[in-house]
Symmetry: C2
């Protein structure tokens, strides 16, 4: 399924390079490779899963239109994938999502419906609208086609890096990217270890990997890492994480902001706070890693200018 | 010579992707592809020419050490290339170069000598130091090996983009990158047109292409586009530019800053002002171009955080 999805998305997806800097290696205390999915179409890896889902969907269903709920990155991925397939996208977004993400989603032709993250349930709104309008829901992570699409990040890294042993760090919200990559790498690079990375206070995946069952985050908003804030990992993603992932790593928000500043000065890429947590773990939590090579996914770059300036100027 | 240089640098150089965004296409009024050499090792294309020069140099000469003068990007390229060849680099830099460039050059192991851009002649200092210390000068642009190395940007673009007709826009200081790319593309893509792009008041290449002889800039400092400020194009680069380039394009500094902001929000890359002039020309001077495709080189990303924040927040 992963290889079939890659076959469908490869002609349209951007193969992102692996970046590095001797200055970052020194901070990390080992070779540090960064997979900049911020350079992907729509500014995050989410386009991969969205395109995999749309291209793998029954054509008649797809023609009636799709619907998605997202804090912004999945929204843009689905909007562009829908446009490329000549169909319509309805996107349910939290009213407090970064302005840029809402504006971009609209500009990509989607019909945007806003909701309140604190007291409304996006799943419920999504289910209702899809029933009313005959739309097919493209879930942000808990969908085998989406997971198979995100797995392509793992396939690309395996093709780009031939070291025998490596630690792979992945920003983790619902677990779509982490589970997809872990699945792909379990086959392509069985000796590598994949760690989900989360911000403090939103560390349900790390806790779930310890307790052995899905855990909930008590808060659902109020983090600069908006891209990876979800109530918990998915029903489908969790068993994959449990089977194929090493321990979760938790970073502070200020470490994510510092990682953004270092990615700016050393790699010349723009990462958003949620997309920077894996790089932050590689740079500042090396004691939790082993081996000579760490690979961090920079999962997205959709950040407002003010927030970015705050990170880089300090 | 171009293909031989590419053979030497290909194993170590980063092959940068071609980026695009539907939002930028709309502003440009045509398909706009960006070659982000800011993602190159040391943050600019200069590493290509420096490595080509060092790897093509007589081994005994190289072992005695090299010297270079540079506002910062060539400095870092030579420093890293010297380090990779196990030799020493002495770098003459203007005292008003961006702090980051000076600090990085030192951190890459080079011996940095500062000079005053307004009243000292860097060529003279370079010649004196190289005589005193037995060092071999690696010129920033007026050297066939360096030009052959920069040409690899053109070879890569030709391999990445197969359109029959395109306008290629290149930030131009001394003309090393522009002449190298024009040479490579004259063979690989003879129907494409290569334009040097410069900031206002430092437009000697555009004037030289009209007058048919090298022209001088009256000012030598005071531009945010420090990376591409030179007294004039080179003795070796000019005849190549004259033979293979279309008309020069001149942009305002505020247009370069606006291009930086759009590269931040739409491509998630960090470009410095001098590296953004070609993108600015593609976005805001479309009336000087023809055809459906424009390719802009983003030549470097070594910019201080304050300057970058000024560009993106406005």
């Amino acid at each position: 399924m992963i290889h079939a999805a890659y076959g469908r998305i490869q002609p349209v997806v951007r193969q992102t390079p692996l970046l590095s800097s001797p200055f970052l290696d020194e901070i990390a205390g080992r070779k540090l490779l960064v997979k900049p999915e911020c350079l992907q179409h729509t500014g995050s890896f989410k386009f991969r899963g969205a395109y995999a889902a749309l291209s793998g969907m029954d054509a008649a269903k797809r023609a009636r239109g799709v619907i998605a709920y997202s804090s912004g990155n999945h929204a843009q991925g689905v909007a562009l994938a829908a446009k490329m397939h000549g169909t319509t996208a309805t996107i349910i977004m939290p009213a407090d999502a970064p302005e840029m993400k809402i504006a971009n989603t609209k500009a990509l032709g989607a019909d945007v419906v806003l909701y309140n993250r604190a007291n409304e349930d996006r799943d419920e709104i999504g289910a209702r609208l899809s029933a009313e309008r005959g739309l097919t829901l493209v879930k942000p992570f808990d969908d085998p086609l989406v997971i198979a699409g995100q797995a392509s990040v793992g396939l690309e890294i395996a093709a780009q890096c031939e070291v025998a042993e490596a630690e792979v760090l992945v920003p983790c919200g619902g677990g779509g990217l982490t589970s997809g990559m872990a699945l792909a790498l379990s086959e392509a690079r069985p000796a590598w270890r994949v760690h989900p990375v989360e911000p403090e206070e939103f560390d349900d995946a790390a806790r779930a990997l310890i307790s052995g069952k899905r855990e909930e985050n008590t808060r659902r908003d109020g983090s600069v890492c908006d891209a990876i804030i979800t109530p918990s990992v998915g029903e489908i993603t969790f068993p994959i994480l449990r089977k194929h992932c090493a321990a979760g790593i938790v970073v502070r928000e200020d470490e994510a902001m510092q990682a953004m500043a270092l990615a700016f000065s050393r790699l010349k890429i723009v990462i958003e706070p949620g997309g920077a947590v894996a790089l932050a773990a590689a740079l500042f939590h090396g004691d939790k890693l082993r081996g000579d090579t760490v690979i961090a996914v920079a999962s997205g770059g959709n950040v407002d200018a003010e927030m970015f300036a705050r990170a880089v100027v300090g």
